[in-house]
């Protein structure tokens, strides 16, 4: 099999998809701006959840790419370009963080001075939760992730150009500490951005749960893209049932992991039944939010878990596509369920801005993603492990 980079140029469809996404994103952005003008508080709250979803996909792509560099499994090479393009959008997401920074008082109780003045616990927590420190930490997290993805992408590009077989060691040298730094920063980011919407609540498992959710979202997105590419030249016939079998297994592992974290956190807090912890679950299991909670159990775990057990469904493209789409939607539902009750504890509500901001960020994000994907060959042909990966039948 010849391994010239030109053979693996991305299909023209990818660029077209990106242009369409840009149009859709622009419409969403216009709607979001209109929503902001009419209801700023709602805009910021919807925006946070939407931004966290797309950020999770990009950051999850970075984490999976680093895991791939360390484990050197055949599974990773086939999707490496998708992972790289996904993680390369992190600078864009850093810019898209700005609305959250501007809407701090609408989102977080600890950012409202009048509320802090009446709440001893919030006063105590000012050692961590203050606007200044929050901005600084967000800048650090986003800069580190962008830097990691930039460094890895650049090495990967050099590998394409020079074919130096030693470059993969350099990638490993970045990925090993990178994954550690990522785990730490993502944990604190989860506390800052999501956990502190209810500034009284705390759970030491939360960061791990957040990282697992991001990984699952990124994996689902990557599987969708891989299925899309597998139907078109040049990947047609190269990305096959065996690869999707592997990705299906990985999804099964991530789905199980998500459920394990969710159950552990719930069981321990429910059992301990301490006021400062259990109220978080109480809010999320009444006034309509309980329907979402049940939905999470069945559609984020039970159904995808049972479906992914089947060898046949993993190997056939279409069912796997639907499972991946379901999991992406459920990732959004999970984020909405975690953040939403802090904003409307008295009942489940949806607002059209939830959708508008999701489309706005998603459209822009996907346009950036597909631009990056179209720019480079779809396979890292000069990777020393590439040859045997293509033999993986």
């Amino acid at each position: 099999m010849s391994l010239e980079p030109q053979r693996f140029a991305a299909p023209a469809d990818v660029a077209r998809l990106g242009r369409n996404a840009l149009v859709v994103g622009a419409i969403g952005a216009a709607a979001s701006v209109a929503g902001y003008l009419s209801d700023p508080a709602q805009f910021f709250r919807s925006y946070l959840v939407s931004w966290l979803l797309w950020l999770g996909i990009a950051a999850g792509c970075l984490a999976i790419a680093m895991l791939h560099h360390l484990s050197r499994g055949a599974w990773g090479l086939m999707i490496r370009r998708v992972l790289e393009a996904g993680s390369s959008t992190l600078p864009l997401l850093a810019i898209l963080f700005l609305p959250i920074a501007l809407g701090l008082t609408e989102i977080y109780p600890w950012a409202r001075p009048d509320e802090v003045a009446h709440d001893e616990m919030l006063q105590y927590k000012t050692w961590w939760l203050t606007p200044g420190a929050f901005y600084l930490r967000a800048a650090i997290y986003l800069a580190i992730w962008s830097g990691l993805s930039f460094a890895l992408n650049r090495l990967s590009q050099r590998q394409d150009e020079t074919g130096d077989p030693g470059l993969f060691r350099k990638m490993q040298t970045i990925a090993a500490p990178g994954i550690l730094i990522y785990a730490l920063t993502a944990t604190f980011a989860s506390v800052d951005w999501l956990m502190s919407v209810d500034a009284h609540w705390y759970s030491s498992l939360f960061g791990v749960y957040f990282i697992g959710g991001q990984g699952l979202a990124a994996l689902s997105f990557v599987v969708i893209m891989a299925l899309y590419l597998a139907k078109r030249e040049p990947m047609k016939g190269i990305l096959g049932a065996n690869h999707f079998h592997d990705y299906g297994k990985l999804m099964l592992a991530f789905v199980s992991l998500w459920a394990y974290f969710a159950l552990s956190q719930f069981l321990i807090i429910w059992s301990g039944n301490l006021k400062e912890e259990v109220l978080w679950y109480k809010e999320r299991t009444e006034h309509g939010w309980n329907i979402i909670a049940l939905g999470l159990i069945f559609l984020h775990f039970v159904l995808p878990f049972l479906l992914l057990l089947s060898r046949d469904l993993k190997r056939r493209g279409r069912p796997l596509l639907w499972i991946a789409l379901l999991l992406l939607v459920m990732r959004w539902v999970d984020l909405y369920w975690q953040a939403g009750p802090a904003f409307s504890p008295h009942g489940l509500t949806f607002h059209w801005l939830d959708l508008a901001t999701l489309v706005a960020i998603g459209g822009l994000w996907f346009a950036a993603f597909s631009r990056r994907l179209a720019r480079r060959p779809l396979l890292p042909v000069n990777d020393p492990f590439m040859e045997e990966t293509l033999d993986h039948e």
Binding site: P165, V191, Q265, F385
Partner: protein, 461 residues
């Protein structure tokens, strides 16, 4: 699978092989079975004899315990859980590496597991045996320990199903059963090999009975492969579930320092960390004593080191997030508990724990350390000690400072606590010495499956 074997990228890039070059299927069989057929070396009697003396010490401590009760231990209020639970968790954690190696690495198609899975599984069984002893003797009246099982009885009494202690009974007994099945089924083809190779008539009969009529027909192999894969699938969730349930023993209560949601994944990572440390502790001397360097290569030691480093870092993450959340939570008891761990009367234990579990394993980042078995053995010993200290710190520091200062106290193990603990180490070692003497400690038939590949690698090199 590649149709025609050729050097894989990892070999081209200069990684040590999983099987030293030059071996054929018969040389593998000869060399591994020779360990048993060669007869008993003199050192074995000393090693086994010494371990057996420790078993006698265990029997003595148990006799004393049954006669006088748990008062001979250092337990009291407020520290009502001591060595028994510490040692239980320590031993059960060690077992996890065996299950991970045999089940998860099998499903992940990591063929380097092949030469270490057999004795890692044996280690799991022996560790579970030692672990299972502690809850039984801790109940005070061990002859009534069967009350832990839910069965219809005339007293109308049932265990408390909401208590994780009863989940432990199910988790650990399932774990022991599945581990035993997995190990034994994996042994059957090798037991048949031993049956065919031993000269002595009695040995032949024993191995023959244990091999259950294995003749190596295609039908046998087909059934075997199916059963083995199914058991691997069954054992995989056990790697996570057993230690998660153990962590629930602590976490579902409200005691500061125990009630933390991070406990389940952090305990599981700690278990695998401890388990790999123990596998290295055993594998490094065994490969030297029995000249098994061809089978347990530097690749294995490196890979196990990497797993140990990764899981050790997850454990470090657990410590870090516990400290952070204690302060972030604003809960004064959590805060006090953490400060008490770090600066209180047991601070030396805590700092020693950080040295053993966090600092020492960082040596594994250095490649030179990873490929030097002696250094890896030292790191593994640090981890063995560190994981014991971790459980000591968790159990004792959380209990000894109760909510009211009037109920504060101190705890130390008595000589009988130590005798029991050392006794179980003796039990573990005795079983291990019996195992390496009478059963093939490396899976012969699985090693044979990786021979042709490395043969042709040599040819093309």
């Amino acid at each position: 699978m590649a149709k025609e074997p050729r050097p894989s990228a990892s070999d081209r890039l200069g990684k040590p092989p999983v099987l030293a070059p030059g071996h054929t299927t018969s040389s593998v069989t000869d060399q591994i079975s020779a360990v048993i057929l060669r007869g008993t070396p003199r050192w074995w009697y000393f090693a086994f004899g010494f371990s057996f003396l420790l078993v006698l010490l265990l029997l003595q401590s148990l006799t004393k315990l049954f006669l006088e009760g748990t008062g001979i231990w250092g337990l009291n209020i407020p520290v009502g859980w001591g060595f028994a639970i510490i040692n239980f968790v320590w031993w059960i954690g060690i077992g996890h590496a065996g299950t991970l190696i045999s089940a998860i690495l099998l499903l992940l198609r990591q063929e380097w597991r092949t030469s270490i899975n057999r004795f890692a599984e044996a280690m799991t069984l022996f560790a579970v045996a030692c672990a299972g002893l502690y809850p039984l003797i801790h109940v005070g009246r061990p002859w009534l320990a069967y009350w832990l099982l839910p069965y219809p009885n005339t007293m109308g009494m049932w265990p408390q199903f909401r208590s994780p202690l009863i989940w432990d009974v199910f988790a650990v007994s399932t774990y022991a059963t599945v581990s035993l099945m997995f190990w034994y089924i994996g042994l059957i083809p090798d037991l048949a090999t031993m049956r065919d190779r031993v000269e002595n008539r009695w040995s032949k009969m024993v191995y023959g009975a244990l091999a259950m009529g294995w003749r190596g027909s295609a039908h046998h192999w087909h059934n075997y492969e199916t059963a083995y894969l199914l058991l691997a699938g069954l054992a995989t969730p056990l790697v996570v579930s057993v230690h998660s349930v153990v962590s629930f023993d602590f976490a579902v209560g409200q005691t500061p320092g125990w009630h933390a949601t991070i406990f389940p994944p952090y305990f599981v990572a700690g278990a695998i960390f401890a388990g790999f440390a123990m596998v290295l502790t055993l594998a490094i001397p065994l490969r030297a004593i029995f000249n098994l360097q061809d089978f347990i290569t530097l690749r294995h030691i490196q890979n196990m080191g990497k797993v140990m480093l990764a899981t050790g870092l997850i454990v470090a993450y657990g410590y870090m997030i516990e400290i952070f959340m204690a302060f972030y939570s604003g809960n004064q008891y959590e805060e006090f508990m953490i400060l008490n761990r770090i600066t209180g009367p047991y601070r030396n234990f805590w700092w020693a724990l950080i040295l053993c579990n966090i600092l020492a394993p960082q040596m594994i980042w250095i490649k030179k350390v990873r490929v030097t078995p002696a250094l890896m053995w030292i790191v593994a010993m640090f981890v063995n000690v560190g994981m014991w200290l971790e459980r000591f710190v968790i159990v004792v520091t959380s209990l000894h400072r109760d909510f009211l200062p009037s109920s504060w106290g101190m705890y130390a193990g008595t000589k009988w606590d130590w005798a029991t603990f050392i006794g179980t180490i003796g039990l573990f070692l005795s079983l291990l010495f019996l195992f390496v003497r009478f059963l093939p400690m490396i899976s012969i038939f699985e090693m044979r499956t990786i021979v042709p590949k490395s043969d042709s690698e040599e040819a093309s090199a």
